[in-house]
Structures are given as C-alpha cells and as structure tokens.
C-alpha cells in the first residue's frame, strides 16, 4: 500500500466518523419532528443550485457569447464578471431587504438603507465595468495602430 493510499483511507475513515458525530449531535440536540425540515432544506439546496442557478448561468453565458460576433471577447468577459458579481450581491442583499420589510425585533437590527445601497452598488459596478471596457478597447485600438504603420508601409511599397 502506498503512502497516498494510506492517507486516502485515513481521510475517508475519519471523515465518515466525523459525519457520524454530526449525526449523533443531530439526534441528541434536535427534535426528530424537525428532521423533515432539514431534509427539505438539503433537497432544496441541490434543486435550487443544480436545477435553477447553474442552467440559468449557462443560458446567460450562451446568450452573451452569441453577442460576441459583434463584440470583442474581452468585453464580454468583463460584462459577464460584472453580471456575476451583481447577481451575487443581489442574492445576499435581497433577503435583508425582505426581512427589513417584515420588520425586526428592534431597530438596531438591519438599520441600513439596503435597497438604496444595492442601487448605489449597481451604479458603482456599472461605472467600474464601463471604465474597464474603455481601457480594454483603448488598448486594443492602440495595439492595432501600432500594427498599422508597418502595413501601410508595405502598401506604399
């Protein structure tokens, strides 16, 4: 048995034991009437990620790339990155906005203007994205211009 195999076996055995420990804690500390709720959350997590988020990401990705016949790839990648970050922040902040609407136990919980801040964040992200795109386009233009004289020189000859 090689060292790597021994380490693998050890990791798997320890891992299974630790998972078992989690199971014991669950059995001891959580009322069995609650297990169904936990199981639903587990199933929901898999369904929402694998069945919803991932296919939507793929769809948006394909649509963006489809636009790529007219738009430089670098620009698409920047827009894609910005959309991912916007989606990530939306997913984190929308629960805060919703909970703020429902109300909190006291006014020190969720005290910020989350909806306003999210809009300001989108605006800032759009600015940074536009600036990055401008930099990329200017660079590629100056690269093209650097190529240009040699070509026109060849034409003249």
């Amino acid at each position: 048995m090689t060292a790597v195999t021994r380490i693998r076996i050890a990791l798997i055995v320890v891992g299974v034991l630790v998972i078992g420990l989690g199971g014991i804690v669950l059995l001891n500390d959580v009322n069995p009437a609650r297990y169904l709720g936990i199981a639903l959350w587990f199933a929901g997590a898999l369904v929402i990620h694998d069945g919803l988020i991932a296919p939507v990401v793929l769809g948006v990705h394909l649509l963006l790339r489809r636009a790529g016949r007219r738009i430089p790839v670098a620009v698409i990648l920047i827009v894609q990155g910005a959309l991912v970050i916007a989606a990530l922040m939306t997913a984190l902040v929308v629960p805060e906005i919703l909970k703020q609407g429902i109300g909190s136990a006291n006014p020190t919980i969720l005290p910020l203007d989350y909806a306003g801040n999210l809009l300001r964040f989108y605006a800032g992200l759009a600015l940074v994205t536009a600036a990055s795109i401008a930099v990329v386009l200017l660079r590629s233009r100056s690269a093209r211009r650097a190529d240009a004289p040699s070509r026109s020189g060849a034409d003249a000859a």
């Binding site: 380490i7 891992g15 669950l26 790339r65 790839v73 919703l98 910020l112």
Partner: protein, 402 residues
C-alpha cells in the same frame, strides 16, 4: 421503446449535456485552486465556530484565554466574514465541477455510488450551512423549520467530515494538479460549448483568468461591504452588513431589549438589589451600595455571536471585588442570574479565568452614562473575550456554583 432503450437514450442525452457544459474554466486544476480556498474557509469557520460554541457550552476541563480582549471579536468576525466569502467560492467551485453531475452511467459501481452520495451530502450540507448561517445574522428565523444553533452545530461536523471524505476520494487528482502544470498548447475546447463558442464569436478563447478574477472580485466585494460590522477600520465600506455597530442606544446595537425580556418594571424598580452568594455567606447590595464600592473603568468590546462588535468604555465594580466580599474561592465558577426569566440566556456561567480577571466588571455605566435599560440597567456583566450573549444583562444574583 423498451426500458433498456429509454435508459440508453437518457444516457446519450446526459453525455451530450455534459459535453455541452465543457468550458475553458472547467478544469481539474481550477477545481483544485478553488477547492483549496474553500477548504481553508471551511476550516476557519469550523475552528472559530467551535471556539464560540465551547465558550458558551464548555467541557468541564476547558479554560479560555482572556487576552487579547478583542480575541472573541476577531474570531467571531472572522467566522461570519469567512462564511460570507464561502458564497462566491462555493458557487465558483460548483460551476467548475457542474458537468460531473451528468456522468454516464450515473452509477458505475457501489464505491462510485458512495462517492456520488458523499458529494451530494457535501454539497447540500455546505450550501445549507452557509445559507442558514447568513439568514441567522439577519434574524429571519421564520424561514427555519429547525432550531438554528443546534442544527448549525451538527451540520458543521457533517460538512467537515464530508470535506475529509472528499479530499480522500480526490487525493490523486488534487496531487496531480496541486502545482500549475507547464502550459500545454491548449486545444480549443471540445464539445458542443466549444463549437458553439467558435460559431458565436469565432474563438474558443480561454476565460480561465477572467473566471478566477470574477470569483476573486466577488469574494473581495462580499467581504469588504459586510466586514465593517466586525472590523472597525472597514466601517466606511459597510453597505450590506446586518448591523451598523454605531447604531443603537448609547451608540451600541442591542439583540434583546428590556421589553423583549419583560424586565422593564423590575429593572426600573427602586427596590432592585444584587445578591452575591457563596454557600451560606450572602450580601445584598442596592445601586447606592454598589456605587460606594471602588469603581473601575475598562475598555472592552461587546461582540455578538452574529458577528457585529464594538469597543466601549464600561464603569462599575470589579466582579472579583464582589466575590471577595463573600470570600468566594478563587477557583469558583460563578452563575450570573438575570431578572430575565423567559429565556435560556437569563442565566450564564462564568469560569474562574473570567470571574477573577481584573477587567471583568459588574458594569453600571456605559461610555460615561448610566447603562441604558436595553444594555442591562441597573447592572450587567462585561468581561473580556466572551460573546455578548454571556454578558448577562439586568443582573439580579451572582452565586458560587457548588
């Protein structure tokens, strides 16, 4: 169509879908790069989480450090911030390995079944763990069909155990891709996506760097716009944390108000007293009597399990001085009892390392003014390096645990 044909068709569909998902950033190397970061974040969360858990429910032999006084503020701030960073990291990691979901045949053998089942458990428990952790910090308890703290604690073992199993299963791949390989000429991405890319924009251009940059920027953004609740220097960037540590009575947030705790009348009563009890020895002090004892002023943070924290200045009587009045043994554990009786947090236990610490006070004042009723008027415990939930408010009794 016979069932066998149907299975074959399903198999071909899965293979086609999986091929369609091939993309430049979906490589084993990328899975290792993100996996390392995510694994590290998980271990940080587990370590800091266990620390917080055992501070609240110590095993009998446990002794905790009381310095630096910001220790808990830092560990719990790290817990919450690392937990938030797990969102972009885990979404990136799942994006990289997503095509593996569509393996054909779905199950090759019994070990393969176990491997896939363990990954399903790992992915589900990790997603649930970070999601309920985040939702708990915004106190949206109605979404939980289970008790948060116990479930979060139990799941932490499931997540870390699954991580160990996962590393064990994938170790050969991890070792092969631990270091960057010398660049091989990159073949244009095969599969339908590669062909679609070439058709769409005339290139199969790799976007590995753009992908990593996006995950990195996402992690930085979630951390920087929320960590201000735990780390004061980042406060100006705090757009999205569930708390602003400057917002609250006397400039400090509150978790449980006097009204929630149903103690307003008792706490405001002129007849309020604090009893200090060690076996048969007992003294009873009203606010005047507490005022007449030597007053000390200390700077200690209030740091919540939910991650927010803020430094404050407290004035009151050293707990150790009160314990000396009833000749409590130096190694005694102390029970602090609140006027609050409708919650399990109405009673806390203070180990001798905290009870006898010179900075631990029965505080009467906060930032130079009498304690606000929501901060525990007439008197509360404040001690270094412990979660706010143990800094018992509306104190009515201190007793040596026999």
């Amino acid at each position: 169509m016979t069932p066998r044909d149907a299975i074959a068709v399903a198999g071909r569909t899965m293979t086609a879908y999986r091929a369609a998902l091939a993309a430049p950033e979906r490589t084993a190397r990328m899975a290792v790069v993100l996996g390392r970061l995510l694994g590290l974040a998980f271990l940080v969360c587990m370590g800091t989480g266990l620390y917080s858990h055992f501070l609240q429910d110590p095993l009998p032999w446990m002794v905790f450090p009381t310095r630096p006084v910001q220790l808990y503020q830092w560990t719990q701030g790290l817990h919450i911030t690392a937990g938030i960073i797990c969102f972009p990291l885990i979404l990136g990691k799942l994006h990289v390995v997503y095509p593996q979901l569509f393996q054909t045949p779905p199950v090759r053998s019994f070990p393969h079944f176990l491997e896939r089942a363990s990954i399903a458990l790992f992915v589900a428990s990790s997603l649930v763990q970070i999601t309920i952790g985040f939702i708990n910090t915004v106190q949206w308890y109605q979404l939980f069909a289970f008790p948060f703290r116990q479930t979060h604690y139990a799941l932490s073992f499931v997540v870390i155990g699954s991580l160990a199993v996962h590393i064990g299963v994938k170790l050969p791949v991890i070792l092969r891709h631990w270091r960057k390989q010398p660049r091989k000429p990159v073949a244009a991405t095969s599969g339908v996506t590669g062909r679609v890319h070439r058709w769409m924009d005339g290139s199969g251009t790799t976007s590995r760097r753009a992908f990593l940059a996006t995950v990195g920027a996402g992690s930085a953004v979630v951390a920087l716009t929320t960590a201000g609740q735990s780390f004061a220097p980042l406060q100006p960037l705090n757009l999205f944390a569930p708390r602003d540590p400057r917002v609250g009575p006397q400039g400090l947030p509150v978790n449980r108000t006097a009204e929630d705790a149903e103690v307003v009348q008792l706490a405001r009563s002129a007849g309020w007293t604090l009893s200090v009890v060690a076996g048969a020895r007992r003294i009873v002090l009203d606010r005047e009597a507490l005022r007449e004892l030597e007053q000390r002023t200390v700077d200690l943070p209030i740091a919540c399990v939910e991650g927010w924290s803020r430094m404050a200045t407290w004035t009151g009587v050293r707990l150790s001085d009160l314990l000396d009045l009833v000749e409590a043994p130096a190694d005694a554990r102390i029970r602090a009892v609140s006027l609050e009786t409708n919650s399990s947090y109405g009673v806390s236990e203070i180990g001798p390392e905290f009870a006898r610490d010179e900075l631990t006070l029965v505080a009467l004042e906060l930032n130079g003014d009498e304690l606000d009723i929501d901060h525990g008027y007439p008197a509360r415990i404040i001690s270094p390096g412990r979660p706010g939930v143990l800094q018992t408010k509306w104190l009515s009794r201190l007793e040596v645990i026999e």
